[in-house]
C-alpha cells in the first residue's frame, strides 16, 4: 500500500457518527527549465501536496455535501478543512441524487504510468535538453530571428482517494515535455511556430522532432496573407483536431447533459456525425498521456464508446450526474485538483483512425484550407448553442498541394454541422498532452472570414 493511501486511511478515521467522508490526497514534484540564448533563464523545482475533503450527510429529503481543501498535509490544516467541510454541509440543498461513489466491482486496469527516468535523470541532463533544443532551433534556419523560449518540464504526481463507503484507490503518473516557440522573419512580418515532444520520462523525448516542428511551422508561415472570405473544406492538423475533439467531449459530459447545457441532450441513438466518425474515451489506453487507472471518485477508469459510426451512443457520467440521469457512473469523474469537486468529463478521447495520411487527404480534398493553429477557442466556441468561430493560421490547399500561408482569418460553422460535415479522418494519430489524441480531420462547408 502506498504511503499516501495509508495516510488517507488514517485521516478517514476522523469520520464521526453517520457522516460519510471522501478524501482526495495528492502529492507531486516537478521541475521546469527554461533556456534562452544558450543559458538557463529559469530553473524551478518544487514539491506540493494537498487534500480535498467532502462530507456528506443523509437526511429525509436526500443528502447534503460540504467541501473544503487545504494546500498542505499538515495535521492542523487537515483538521481546519474538515471542520469547514462539516460546517458547509448545513447549507447545501437536500438532494435525493447526491451521493458518493460506491465500489462497483469493475477491476482497475494494470497500467505502468510512472517512468523512474523522471527521478533518476540528473538535473544537468534535463537542463542540457532545453539548451540543446534552443540551439537546434536557433541554428536550424537563417530566417529564425528569435527563440522566445525553449522549455523542459517534468513531474511525478500521486493521488489517493478513499471514502467511508469503501473506496480505496491510489495511483501515480509521470510526464516529461520539451517545447519551443520560434519566431521567423525574412524581411516582412514575423511569424511564429511551436514545437513539442511529450513522454513519461526524459528518455522518451525527441528534441530534434520538437525543433523541426517549430522550424517548419514558423518558416512556412512567412509571407502569410489575409485571403478573401470563402466557403471551403478545412483540413485540421492533428493538434487542432485534438482541440476540436476536446470541445466535443465537453458536450458529451453527462453533467452538461443533466444540467441542460449540451446540444447532445435527448439525442442518444440519433445520427449526430458522419458515419466515418467513431469517438471513444479510453483512459485505460496507456498511449494517452492522460491515461489513468482510477477516476476522480476512485472508481476504475474504463473504455466508453461515445459516438459510433456517427451515431450518438453514450455520455460519460460521474456518480451524481449518473443518478440524475437514471443510470450508473461510467468511471468518468474528473476533478480540477484538490479544490475541485468531481464532475463528469472525458479524459482520453480518440477517434478510430482512418486509412489516409495527411498528403492523401490533401489530394482528395483538392482545394481548401489547412488549419495548423487555433486561437480564441475559449471566446469563440459556445458548447451550449454549438456556435463555432475561431481564429486560425494555416496554408491554402490547391490541387491537393499546400500553397501560400494565410493568417488573420477565422473559420466558422456550428459544432452540430461540423460533425455531420466531416469528410475524412486521418490515420496519422498523434498522442498529445491534454485529454485528446489528434489526427488530420477534413470538414467541408466551413465559412472562412478574411478581407
Amino acid at each position: 500500500m502506498s504511503e499516501l493511501l495509508a495516510e488517507a486511511e488514517r485521516i478517514l478515521d476522523l469520520a464521526k457518527g453517520s457522516e460519510q467522508i471522501e478524501l482526495y490526497l495528492s502529492r507531486g514534484v516537478d521541475t521546469e527549465v527554461q533556456a534562452y540564448q544558450g543559458a538557463i533563464e529559469e530553473l524551478s523545482t518544487a514539491s506540493s501536496a494537498g487534500i480535498g475533503i467532502r462530507v456528506l450527510r443523509e437526511s429525509a429529503g436526500g443528502a447534503q455535501v460540504g467541501t473544503a481543501w487545504a494546500g498542505s498535509l499538515d495535521p492542523s490544516a487537515i483538521e481546519d478543512a474538515l471542520r469547514e467541510a462539516r460546517d458547509n454541509v448545513r447549507f447545501a440543498t437536500e438532494d435525493e441524487y447526491v451521493a458518493f461513489a460506491t465500489p462497483d466491482g469493475v477491476a482497475p486496469a494494470t497500467l505502468q504510468l510512472t517512468d523512474p527516468g523522471v527521478t533518476s535523470t540528473p538535473l544537468d541532463q534535463k537542463i542540457a535538453m532545453a539548451i540543446e533544443l534552443e540551439r537546434i532551433v536557433r541554428d536550424g534556419d537563417p530566417r529564425i530571428r528569435q527563440v522566445e523560449a525553449a522549455n523542459y518540464s517534468d513531474y511525478v504526481a500521486e493521488a489517493a482517494i478513499v471514502s467511508t463507503l469503501g473506496v480505496r484507490a491510489s495511483y501515480e503518473r509521470s510526464g516529461a515535455y520539451v517545447s519551443v516557440e520560434a519566431i521567423a522573419n525574412d524581411g516582412g512580418s514575423d511569424q511564429t511556430g511551436w514545437g513539442l515532444s511529450a513522454g513519461r520520462a526524459p528518455g522518451d523525448l525527441d528534441v530534434q522532432r520538437a525543433a523541426s516542428d517549430a522550424l517548419t511551422r514558423a518558416t512556412r508561415m512567412l509571407g502569410a496573407v489575409k485571403p478573401a472570405s470563402m466557403k471551403c473544406t478545412a483540413v485540421f492538423d492533428p493538434r487542432s483536431a485534438a482541440t476540436l475533439l476536446a470541445i466535443i467531449g465537453g458536450s458529451l459530459s453527462g453533467e452538461a447533459v443533466v444540467r441542460g447545457r449540451s446540444f447532445f441532450a435527448n439525442r442518444i441513438g440519433e445520427s449526430v456525425a458522419a458515419p466515418l466518425f467513431t469517438l471513444i474515451d479510453d483512459p485505460t489506453d496507456p498511449r494517452h498521456f492522460s491515461a489513468s487507472v482510477y477516476d476522480g471518485e476512485g472508481l476504475a477508469c474504463r473504455r466508453n464508446v461515445l459516438i459510433e459510426t456517427g451515431q450518438l451512443k453514450a455520455f460519460v457520467y460521474d456518480t451524481v450526474s449518473a443518478r440524475r440521469a437514471g443510470t450508473v457512473s461510467t468511471g468518468s469523474a474528473v476533478r480540477g485538483g484538490i479544490g475541485g469537486s468531481p464532475s463528469a468529463g472525458c479524459r482520453a478521447l480518440q477517434l478510430v483512425p482512418g486509412e489516409l495520411d495527411q498528403a492523401e487527404i490533401f489530394a482528395r480534398v483538392g482545394h481548401g484550407i489547412f488549419v495548423e493553429s487555433l486561437t480564441g477557442v475559449h471566446s469563440g466556441v459556445n458548447p451550449i448553442s454549438g456556435d463555432f468561430s475561431v481564429g486560425i493560421t494555416g496554408l491554402m490547399i490547391r490541387d491537393g498541394q499546400l500553397c501560400e500561408p494565410v493568417r488573420e482569418i477565422t473559420v466558422a460553422s456550428t459544432l452540430q454541422r461540423m460533425l455531420l460535415d466531416i469528410t475524412y479522418v486521418g490515420g496519422d494519430v498523434e498522442w498529445l498532452p491534454g485529454n485528446a489524441a489528434g489526427q488530420s480531420l477534413a470538414i467541408e462547408g466551413i465559412s472562412v472570414s478574411g478581407s
Binding site: E41, E42, A46, A68, A92, S379, G380, I384, E408, G450
Partner: protein, 464 residues
C-alpha cells in the same frame, strides 16, 4: 494583524538564498483563504472553503533565475527552499549574506465587509435572489447557474534590496449564467460582478441587475441570426470593449515580450502606433476595481502608467527583473498567480481614456456594421500582433440603427492595424472584470473604455 513570517527569519532566509552567489533574492509568503458557493437549478450544490499557505523563493544570478516553493513556513522549511532556489548559482558565493530589511510597509485593504464576517446563509439568500430575478425575465429561461466566490490573500514580500511589504487583498466575485431555449436551440447569457472589495459590492440591486441582464441576453439571442463573415465597421459598447486593447496591444507592451523582441511594439517608443484618439493607461491604483493592487507581488506600489498618449507609444509595463536589466524602476506590474509561481509582467486595469463623441451619435453615423454589447475574452500572438476576441452579445447596425441580434462569434484583427482604425470614442466610460491568462498563470484584471468605433474589423461569422 501579525505578520506571516517574522522579519529576522526572512532576513536569514534571504541571506541563505544568496550564500552561493547571486545579485538578488526574494521571499514571497502567501496565505490565501477562499470560499465559494454555487446554485444550479435552484439547488445549493455545495459550499467550498479552501486555504493555501506557502512561500516562493527566487534567486537571480546573472541572466538566470532559480525558484523553489514550499508549503512549510517554518524557518527550516524556508531555508530548505532557499537552498533549492540557489542551486542555479554555480560559481559559488561568499557564504551566508547578511540582509537588512527596512521597516514593514503594510497596505490596508479597501474592503469594508470581510468575507469571513458574512454569514453563509446570507450568501445563499443572494444566490436565490439572482435565480428568482433571472427566471422572472421569461418562460424561455431553462437553466440558471449562480456562483459566488471570495478570497482573502494576505502576503508578505521581502527582498535583498530591503523591500519589505505586506498586503491584504480581498476579492469578491458573483456570476450569473442563463440558458434560454427556443425553436432554434439554446442560447446563453452571462453577467459578472467583481471587485477587489468585500461583500459590500453585492447589494440586492447589483445582483438583480446582473441576473436580469444575463437572462435578457440569453432570451434576446434566441432570435439571433448568424453573424456576418468579412470586414465591417464595429461599434463596441462601453465596458467590455476594453478587452480589445488588452489583446490588441496590452500583452505586446509587457516588457518581457519586448526584451525578447517578441512583440510587434518592440523599439517603437515615441512613434505613432495608434489613432490620435487612443490614450491607453494601465492603472493598478483604481481602488476596488478587479485589477486593483495597493502593491504588486514584488512589493512595488501599484501605479498609473500611460502606455499610449494621443496615439504615440510612451512606455511599456515593467516588473522587477525586466526593469532592473534596463536600469530603471518597475512600473508596479510584477504579478503572480500564487506563491507557487514566478512573477512576470502583467496588466492590472487597462483602459482607454474617454473621447468627445456621443455614444448614440456614433451608432447613428454608422450606416452598416456590428454593435457589440458584450465581449467574452480573447487571445493574442504578441510576435505577429494577430489577435481574436469573442462577442457574446452583438447586433447588426443597419442605417444607423441597432437591429437584429447576432449569434456568438470571434472577431479577428492585427494589433497595430486595428489601433489605427479607432475613428470615434465616446464619453460613457465603464469597466469590466476579466481573468487574464499568460504562460499558465491566471490573474484578475480590469478592462475599460467608452463606446467606440473601429472603421473595419474582420467578423468571423458564417453569413455572407
Amino acid at each position: 494583524m501579525s505578520i506571516l513570517v517574522e522579519q529576522d527569519v526572512l532576513q536569514r532566509v534571504l541571506g541563505t538564498a544568496l550564500e552561493r552567489g547571486g545579485e538578488f533574492a526574494e521571499v514571497f509568503v502567501e496565505d490565501r483563504t477562499t470560499s465559494s458557493a454555487m446554485l444550479d437549478q435552484r439547488r445549493v450544490e455545495e459550499l467550498s472553503s479552501g486555504r493555501d499557505r506557502g512561500a516562493g523563493i527566487r534567486v537571480v544570478v546573472g541572466e538566470t533565475t532559480g525558484f523553489a516553493h514550499t508549503a512549510d513556513l517554518s524557518e527550516r522549511g524556508l531555508l530548505a527552499a532557499a537552498q533549492a532556489a540557489s542551486a542555479v548559482a554555480r560559481q559559488g558565493g561568499g557564504g551566508v549574506r547578511e540582509i537588512k530589511l527596512g521597516d514593514l510597509v503594510d497596505y490596508p485593504s479597501p474592503a469594508r465587509t470581510a468575507p469571513g464576517d458574512v454569514a453563509k446563509s446570507k450568501k445563499i439568500e443572494l444566490l436565490l435572489h439572482a435565480d428568482d430575478v433571472a427566471r422572472s425575465q421569461g418562460s424561455s429561461i431553462s437553466q440558471v447557474q449562480v456562483a459566488l466566490g471570495d478570497s482573502t490573500r494576505n502576503f508578505v514580500v521581502a527582498n535583498s534590496d530591503g523591500v519589505f511589504a505586506q498586503d491584504h487583498q480581498v476579492r469578491t466575485r458573483f456570476n450569473v449564467s442563463c440558458v434560454a431555449v427556443g425553436d432554434g436551440g439554446m442560447q446563453t447569457g452571462y453577467r459578472p460582478i467583481a471587485g477587489t472589495r468585500g461583500f459590500e459590492i453585492l447589494t440586492p440591486e447589483a445582483v438583480a441587475e446582473a441576473a436580469s441582464g444575463a437572462a435578457r441576453q440569453a432570451i434576446t439571442k434566441l432570435d439571433a441570426r448568424p453573424a456576418p463573415s468579412g470586414e465591417l465597421p464595429v461599434v463596441l459598447a462601453g465596458g467590455s470593449g476594453g478587452i480589445l486593447f488588452h489583446e490588441a496591444c496590452g500583452h505586446g507592451l509587457e516588457a518581457d515580450a519586448i526584451m525578447k523582441q517578441a512583440s510587434v511594439y518592440a523599439g517603437r517608443v515615441g512613434q505613432l502606433v495608434a489613432s490620435p484618439l487612443v490614450t491607453l493607461v494601465d492603472d493598478g491604483t483604481v481602488s476596488g476595481e478587479w485589477g486593483y493592487l495597493a502593491v504588486d507581488d514584488e512589493g512595488r506600489p501599484g501605479a498609473r502608467n500611460v502606455l499610449i498618449e494621443n496615439g504615440v507609444l510612451t512606455d511599456y509595463m515593467w516588473d522587477y527583473l525586466r526593469a532592473h536589466k534596463q536600469g530603471r524602476r518597475s512600473s508596479g506590474n510584477g504579478r503572480r498567480q500564487s506563491y507557487q509561481h514566478l512573477p512576470m509582467v502583467r496588466m492590472t486595469n487597462t483602459y482607454l481614456l474617454e473621447g468627445e463623441s456621443d455614444a448614440d451619435e456614433i451608432v447613428a453615423q454608422t450606416p452598416r456594421g456590428v454593435y457589440v454589447a458584450q465581449l467574452g475574452g480573447g487571445q493574442v500572438n504578441t510576435a505577429t500582433g494577430d489577435f481574436v476576441f469573442g462577442m457574446t452579445a452583438a447586433f447588426l447596425i443597419e442605417n444607423g440603427q441597432i437591429t437584429a441580434p447576432l449569434r456568438d462569434c470571434n472577431l479577428i484583427g492585427n494589433g497595430p492595424d486595428v489601433l489605427q482604425r479607432v475613428d470615434a470614442v465616446a464619453t460613457d466610460f465603464s469597466m469590466m472584470p476579466g481573468t487574464c491568462g499568460k504562460d499558465g498563470q491566471s490573474v484578475p484584471v480590469g478592462c475599460g473604455q467608452a463606446t467606440m468605433r473601429l472603421s473595419g474589423v474582420t467578423i468571423g461569422g458564417t453569413a455572407s
